[in-house]
Every structure is written in C-alpha cells, then in structure tokens.
Symmetry: C2
Subunit: 134 residues, 2 copies
DNA sequence: GATAGAGTGAGTATCATTCTCAGTCAAGGG
DNA sequence: CCCTTGACTGAGAATGATACTCACTCTATC
C-alpha cells in the first residue's frame, strides 16, 4: 500500500504528532482518526491508539482524561492545564502552569523517569451553580 | 425535599463515603459495589455510580482516572497524589501535595466554585525502563 | 387505604479503547 | 528471482467502565 522512502523511523507517528502540534487544542484518538480520514495520512483507529500510546511512552505527548472517560492528547511541550465542571463537563484552559516536575525530589521520584504531569482543577461552573440553586 | 439539613441527606451516600474513608486507598465504583455486596449496605452498581457523582459534585469525594480508563475515588480531605507508569500502569502515592487550590487567582477561577484538584505525574517506572532497554 | 414522589437496581445500551488475526510490505538469503 | 521472516496495519469483534431505562418499592401525606 504505502511505499515511502526509509527516511523516518515511523511516518505515522510523525503525522500524529504534527497533527497534534498543528491543532489549537487537545484532540482525542477519535478526533485524530476522523481528521486524518480522507487524507493521504489516513490510518485505522487501532493504529492511531497504538501510536498515541508509544508517543506517550516516549514523552512526546501528554494525555488527560475527561470525566466522560474520553482521553485527550496534546504535545508535551504545551504545558496547559484546566478547570473542569464536574456537572456539565465544560472545560476552561488555565493560562499558566503553577507547577513543575522539578518540584519532586529524587526520593519522591523513586527511580521513575518523569515524562509529564497533569494538574486539573474541578468545581462547579457558574451556570451549574445557578441551576442547582434554582 | 432538600429542606433537611445536609448533614445526613442520604443513607446510601453516607455509607459510600464511610467506606471510602475507611479504606486505605482509593476505590473504583466496581470496588465499592463488590465490597458492599453481602452486607446490609449492599446496593446496585447504578446506585453506586449515581451517588459517587453526587458526592463528587458536593465536593466530598475526589476522582482520578487511571490510564486504563478506570476511575478511582477518595475522600476530598485526603490530599494524595500519584506517580504513574505509562507503560505498566503501576501507581505510587506521593507523600505530600506540593500544590494547593489557593494558588489560583479569582480571575483564573472564572466564577468556578472549586471543589478539588488532581495532580498526577507520569513516567516510566524502573522496571519498564529496564525492559525497554533489554 | 389511596396516592404521589423519590429512590432503587437488574438488565441493557453506549462508547472509547484494546484485541485478534489475516493480509501486506520490506529486507535478506538461497 | 522465489521464499522466508518479521514488523506493521486495520476491519471487525471483544472488553469494560459507566450511563440509561423503567418497573418496582418504599415513605409520607392526604
């Protein structure tokens, strides 16, 4: 099917990473699969997830889970965190990350090779506060 | 009616909360359901999840998601965070939380009523680092 | 009692993710 | 040139956690 020159070790992972970098916000596995459909870089859903996991293990993408269970992916270098409503699920990005992995002592790291972190705040958004009072 | 004081609004929710407080570590919805089976406090799986969501919305329990997609619940007052291996999924609790919600400015909060936060670090555990090199 | 409303749970539906497995490709040997 | 080997792929099925449905059961009130 695909006879590409042996330039890069893995073209599909590169495509996924570029897609994530191009995107204005985090994407789910389903999003990525849908966006690539009908393009020359199209790939099956299983392949998307396979490579996302590998990219994550190589520290190139980070991943967070919505309350809905959906996982969202973004490039690791984008250090963005969120405020999420536990009622309606609405998510607001926070402008800056008040936290860095350096804050962990070697003893706390316990031999782990740190790849990324997620810091998520949960609460009730203004609309859901209103609705609950009404 | 919600006219009654919120101290003991619902016996089943109380049971779930007590179960979580008694437990040495976080529990999933399935765990809670299984642990209560064959006790006087037994309740259906649907009821467990219903009440867990309500407890979360009232700020009484926090919830985090494992890479496997499973959600783990703990009482909010237990301010525990983790180091998780993105390969094998092993999780190590961190002794202290280097982060507090107070670190968010009112402007950042954007009207949200803050309930809890999750701070999770991801990396490769020593065993998985070895295995990947071998 | 009769009635209304909230709470419940067994079974089913949903949906993201993972698994299976047969097909395809690339490289190297004979 | 075949032929083997191994890695990669993806369609479809399996998995598993969670949400939904709806008939049933309490409880309180009339």
């Amino acid at each position: 099917m695909e006879a590409s020159p042996p330039a890069t070790p893995n073209g599909k992972q590169q495509h996924l990473l570029e897609q994530l970098r191009r995107a204005a916000h985090e994407l789910s596995g389903q999003d990525l699969h849908a966006q690539l459909r009908n393009t020359p870089q199209a790939m099956g859903l299983a392949t998307v997830y396979r490579h996302l996991r590998q990219l994550q293990q190589r520290g190139l993408v980070r991943c967070r889970h919505l309350p809905s269970g959906e996982a969202l992916f973004a490039p690791t270098e984008r250090d963005e965190h969120h405020l999420t409503c536990v009622d309606c699920g609405r998510t607001v990005p926070l402008p800056a990350c008040p936290m860095h992995g350096d804050d962990l002592s070697p003893q706390q790291l316990d031999g782990f090779q740190l790849l990324f972190h997620t810091l998520e705040f949960f609460g009730l958004c203004p609309l859901c506060q209103q609705r609950q009072q009404g």
